[in-house]
């Protein structure tokens, strides 16, 4: 399997959360490899750690690992120039280590220099073709540049490389990107893929139902909301969602009945929940729907 590593606190560690291998051994190996290159995240003042590493560099002489370590601390503290300087130095000392290209790609992404991030990612991919981690940075950079088509392609490539399960974030990001390209059917497929892999969690179900309403697949959307409704202690919000779908489908009589059910469920909530702003707003909306008939 590919030896995944990551580079920065936001996207890199996010990636840790996203990619989850099916098999335990793979999972462990993957994260072990990942962890080896995780940034040293400052908890004490970053200056202290930087001073320690600088002292080590003075004692031990130039070390690409130490420069990279210091760079990550700078990166954590948003000192982009210093971080880039250290990564450059590490790359200069160890030119065969392609990982520093990915480091720099990640740094550029963090610094908001998305085009430059893509340049470094491509440099990395020249020597490590198809690496999911790099493809994910690539996808996110394209996303930041609002180039949704390329972002979607990169997400798709990343998925095909990892060949394992991904955590919910991945599917949601991918589906959102596809939605922005206008390909809602494919977005729906990606969410369904997530459901197949992880389970029918509400994050997928709600997003899928929204897409299905757009695609006029109302019965399927209703089934998804019903599944959440069945597991929920609180019913009014999900009944209201169900009624909205029925109304979108033009099934006004059924919608009215469900709006009434939602209103009744709301009225039966404990007073403290009825007093919440979200409840008051829902009550107003429900009454408006009911009165409109």
């Amino acid at each position: 399997m590919s030896s995944y590593r990551f580079l920065k606190p936001a996207t890199a560690t996010a990636f840790c959360a996203i990619l989850v291998s099916v098999r335990k051994v793979r999972l462990f190996t993957f994260f072990l490899a990942l962890s080896c290159s995780l940034p040293v995240l400052a908890h004490g003042p970053g200056d202290e750690q930087i001073r320690m590493i600088t002292a080590q560099l003075e004692e031990q002489g130039d070390s690409p690992q130490l420069y990279a370590k210091r760079a990550r601390i700078y990166q954590d503290n948003q000192h982009w120039q210093e971080a880039m300087s250290d990564f450059n130095k590490a790359a200069e000392l160890d030119p065969d280590n392609v990982d520093y290209d990915l480091d720099r790609a990640s740094l550029c992404y963090d610094a908001g220099e998305y085009q430059r991030s893509l340049d470094f990612v491509d440099l990395y991919l020249l020597r490590r073709e198809g690496t999911a981690e790099a493809l994910l940075i690539k996808a996110q950079s394209y996303l930041a540049l609002e180039d949704y088509q390329r972002a979607a392609k990169s997400y798709e490539s990343a998925l095909s490389d990892a060949a394992g399960q991904f955590s919910p974030e991945y599917y949601v990001e991918f589906a959102d990107t596809l939605t922005k390209t206008g390909d809602k059917r494919k977005a729906l497929q990606v969410l369904q893929q997530g459901i197949n892999q992880i389970g029918a969690i509400s994050v997928f179900q709600v997003k899928a139902a929204e897409l299905e309403v757009d695609l006029k697949l109302y019965d399927s959307a209703l089934k998804r909301i019903d599944q959440i409704l069945g597991q929920s202690q609180r019913k009014d919000i999900w009944l209201s969602r169900r009624a909205d779908i029925l109304a979108s489908a033009g099934r006004d009589k059924e919608a009215q009945q469900v709006y009434q059910q939602a209103y009744s469920a709301l009225q039966q909530l404990p007073q403290r929940l009825q007093n919440l702003q979200v409840s008051r707003e829902l009550e107003t909306a429900l009454l408006a729907r009911i009165d409109s008939q």
Partner: protein, 853 residues
């Protein structure tokens, strides 16, 4: 023959040897590396985890009493990381247990220290004890003292342990988790379930995820998240929400927030407690929630969702001290946007024996945010977030007791003392009487109908229906009300005199009232004075003007008229010469429009009139153009979005708001601004080259501007141009320049600097134009633009600073002249002293030979 011999002798012998080898090398039992600990406890289910030094099968035996562990749950696969799920349990029930292998070996348990208690039924009101520890895993005396203080607190059973991240220093490695976390709390964890969130020191995600079994599929209530990094669970009447502020919080369109909203929209639990590592309200010198990503993002994204659904308590760590907010709501911005008036639901201490508990009975809004990151160590920081009721650099942990509609929270010090405490309740409010205001006093004439304008507010208890009643309290005649049962009504009076009318409002249990005085005169008799406050005028700040009022009256009831000038509105203060005379003088503190009122009273009736005075600032303190700093020069690659952060300051004159305009001054291609009319904006440039961008700011009358250079390249050049900040614009005569430059050290780490005068009304003299920080003096008053350029040998960056030298201030030239004059004075003094000394020596024999020589 040989073959048969081999079969007859060697095969049994080898088999025997193999058997003996197996018997002597296979451990009879596997030693415990991690003691048993409880995970994902629900009302019917528990997960038991433990780790052995060598692989073995897994068995948990459990039952109602020690020595009566009558049920086994086995896992036949051989492992060191044991995880046994027990289901079908009874709610709120205590079970004793042992752990071991399927061979029957017991490695631990079957005594009074090994037990688990299932959660009470969801929604039930049993008292629940929660212990929360933040940043604990130092394996230091501090950590142990904090733990022991809790162990020695009382005999209450711990139902839930929350660990708030940074559980095992320094890097959250597997061995650190064993020694700094599991071993430290092993006596508690074997009977109290621990629920963890990930901190930034849990650098190895695999270790963290392997160590815990969290309910990603809603195994303990709540809505399934699909992730063990963020999840929810129910325990009694509490809904717990764990978020991941380290990774998931930062993702684009994070699924975590969608899940959070779905989860909270599905719960009806009495209490909601949320926990994650990065605290949303802290301004320590180490971790600042105004700027640090994990803290800022969760505050901006998670808090609105949580508060929308009535979260009660949030727990975090990260900083190594203790802090907690007031009962606050709806604050998601930086600390300087927080105010108690706008964001505190209750700005008291939340203590029953102090300002009173935080009561969310009638108003479900508001939460207390607790920073509890001192369970392993403390650090000395500069503190100070205005949302916090208290901030204490003290070791400790959080002890939370929930029973029914009451939550008691204590911060337990490592020495056993209580550092802070507060209580949140949800008991229904006690009914309060309606608050009544019967309106302002009025004048009326007999026979005329006047309006009575009352206002009433109430707490809505016991019902929202109020009843009203107007009545006469006193007065010489009869009063005829339009409707005595409405808040607003009318009244007329039969005879002249003073009447007191009362408005009473009742909520069916309690009533409130207020009274109003109506002065009634005979129709056709006394009339109020007729007042003219004079013509509208113009004035200047600080200049006295005359106010010429005129008043006429019918002479009734006979007493002399009294007068009163007052300010109705205006941006500043008004100083009246004599506010009690018809004609007086007035001066104004600030420019703007003022409305003044003259009132005249004949002792019974009052008349009034207003006059408007437009006040301007006198010549000499004229409007100055806005001072603009367009930010530092920047480098970027083609297509990148460049953030343009500018700062603009102005004197507030002439009073209109500032308008902004970004434009391109020069450059080889097109630029696309995000918003040309905003102070801060973005720009994207597709063609490589050097671009000069200008920001203009106008106050409506005058315009200031500044420029920055954005260098766009289309190649990945490791070397970046130095970033130059020439310092803030100044209004000063002195010229100490505080500039800063950062660079990537390429190509050789050397930087050169150059200060120059771009424009100005006179000359600028630098102390050292080749130094980063230098001094400057100016030959005349006026506005000067100075530029600092820094070069790394290949690329250069620059920035400009505007210095306005006021007329009355000493310029550098004057300073130099004064200094020269002072130096001349000193020189003269020294010369005089020398002459005196020489004259003294001239009279001294010691000096004579020399002079003679």
């Amino acid at each position: 023959m040989q073959k048969e011999y081999f079969k007859a002798v060697f095969v049994p012998v080898i088999s025997l040897l193999l058997l003996l080898t197996h018997l002597f090398t296979t451990p009879v039992y596997a030693a415990l590396e991690r003691q048993p600990y409880l995970q994902s406890v629900s009302d019917t289910r528990v997960v038991l985890r433990w780790r052995t030094t060598s692989s073995a099968t897994s068995r948990v035996s459990y039952g109602p009493a020690v020595g009566n562990l009558n049920t086994n749950v086995d896992n036949s696969s051989s492992t060191t990381e044991h995880e046994v799920v027990i289901t079908g349990l009874n709610p709120n029930t205590k079970y004793y247990y042992s752990v071991g292998s399927t061979s029957g070996t017991v490695e631990a348990g079957n005594n009074a220290n090994y037990y688990f208690t299932t959660a009470p039924n969801t929604g039930s009101n049993r008292k629940i004890r929660i212990w929360a520890i933040g940043d604990p895993g130092t394996n230091s005396a501090d950590q142990h003292n904090v733990r022991d203080a809790y162990y020695n607190l009382d005999n209450a059973e711990t139902d839930v342990v929350l660990t708030l991240g940074d559980n095992a220093y320094d890097n959250g490695t597997d061995s650190e988790y064993t020694t700094n976390f599991f071993n430290v709390y092993k006596d508690l964890f074997r009977h109290a379930p621990v629920w963890a969130t990930r901190g930034n020191h849990e650098k190895d995600l695999a270790v963290h995820e392997t160590a815990f079994t969290h309910p990603k599929n809603a195994e303990a209530g709540g809505v399934a998240s699909g992730s063990e990094l963020y999840y929810s669970f129910d325990y009694g009447n509490i809904h717990f929400v764990c978020l991941d502020s380290f990774t998931s919080a930062n993702l684009n369109g994070s699924a975590m927030y969608t899940w959070l909203e779905n989860d909270l929209a599905s719960t009806t639990q009495e209490w909601i407690i949320a926990f994650w590592h990065h605290p949303p309200y802290t301004r320590s010198s180490d971790h600042d929630s105004d700027t640090e990503a994990g803290l800022k993002i969760t505050r901006e994204k998670a808090n609105p969702i949580l508060e929308k659904y009535g979260v009660d308590l949030q727990l975090g760590g990260h900083n190594h001290f203790y802090a907690r907010t007031y009962l606050i709501n709806n604050h998601y911005g930086k600390s300087n946007t927080f105010s108690l008036a706008n964001h505190a639901i209750d700005a008291g201490d939340g203590r029953e024996n102090g300002d009173g508990v935080y009561n969310k009975g009638s108003n479900p809004e508001g939460a207390v945010y607790v920073l509890a990151g001192s369970s392993g160590k403390v650090n000395n920081y500069n503190l100070g977030h205005p949302a916090n009721y208290t901030e204490d650099i003290k070791l400790g942990s959080m002890v939370i007791d929930v029973q029914g509609d009451r939550m008691d929270v204590r911060m337990l010090r490592e020495n056993g003392s209580i550092q802070d405490y507060f209580t949140i309740t949800k008991s229904a409010s006690t009914n309060q009487a309606p608050q009544v205001n019967a309106g302002a006093s009025q004048n009326a004439q007999t026979g005329a109908v006047i309006n009575l304008d009352g206002t009433v507010s109430d707490d809505g208890l016991p019902t929202t229906t109020l009843t009203y009643s107007w009545s006469k309290v006193s007065g010489p005649g009869t009063v005829t009300f339009g409707n005595t049962s409405t808040v607003d009504t009318t009244a007329s009076f039969s005879a002249a005199g003073s009447y007191v009318l009362q408005l009473q409002a009742s909520d069916s249990l309690l009533s409130g009232s207020d009274s109003v005085t109506i002065t009634v005169t005979d129709a056709g008799s006394n009339q109020p004075p007729v007042v003219d406050a004079g013509s509208n005028q113009n004035a200047e700040t600080g200049v006295v003007i005359n106010l010429n009022g005129t008043v006429s009256d019918d002479g009734l009831p006979g007493s002399a008229l009294t007068y009163s000038w007052s300010r109705v509105s205006g941006p500043g203060t008004v100083a009246f010469g004599n506010a009690s005379t018809v004609d007086t003088a007035a001066s104004f503190s600030a420019a703007g429009s003022y409305v003044l009122q003259l009132q005249a009273s004949d002792s019974l009736l009052t008349g009034s009139d207003i006059v408007t005075i437009i006040v301007t600032t006198p010549a000499g303190s004229q409007n100055q153009a806005p001072l603009v700093n367009a930010g530092v020069d920047q480098n970027a690659v083609t297509g990148a979005t460049v953030l343009l952060y500018a700062t603009v300051t102005d004197d507030g004159m002439p009073g209109s708001s500032l308008t902004y305009s970004w434009s391109m001054v020069s450059g080889p291609g097109r630029v696309r601004f995000g918003n040309t009319s905003a102070e801060d904006t973005t720009v994207r440039i597709s063609t490589p080259g050097s671009y000069v961008l200008r920001l203009e700011a106008s106050d409506g009358a005058l315009t200031g501007s500044d420029e920055i250079t954005v260098n766009i390249s289309d190649v990945v050049d490791p070397n970046l141009a130095p970033q130059v900040d020439a310092g803030p614009d100044l209004n000063a005569a002195t010229g100490s320049l505080n500039a800063s430059v950062t660079d990537d050290g390429l190509p050789d780490g050397r930087l050169t600097y150059s200060w120059s005068l771009v424009s100005g009304t006179g000359n600028a003299t630098f102390g050292d134009a080749g130094s980063l920080n230098t001094t400057v003096s100016f030959s005349a008053a006026g506005s000067y633009v100075l530029r600092l350029e820094a070069s790394d040998g290949a690329l250069s960056g620059s920035d400009e600073v505007t210095i306005t030298v006021p007329e009355q201030a000493n310029t550098g030239g004057d300073t130099a002249t004064a200094a020269a004059a002072a130096a001349a004075d000193v020189g003269l003094l020294i010369s005089l002293l020398m002459v005196l000394l020489l004259r003294w020596f001239a009279g001294n024999r010691l000096l004579k030979p020399y002079h003679q020589a």
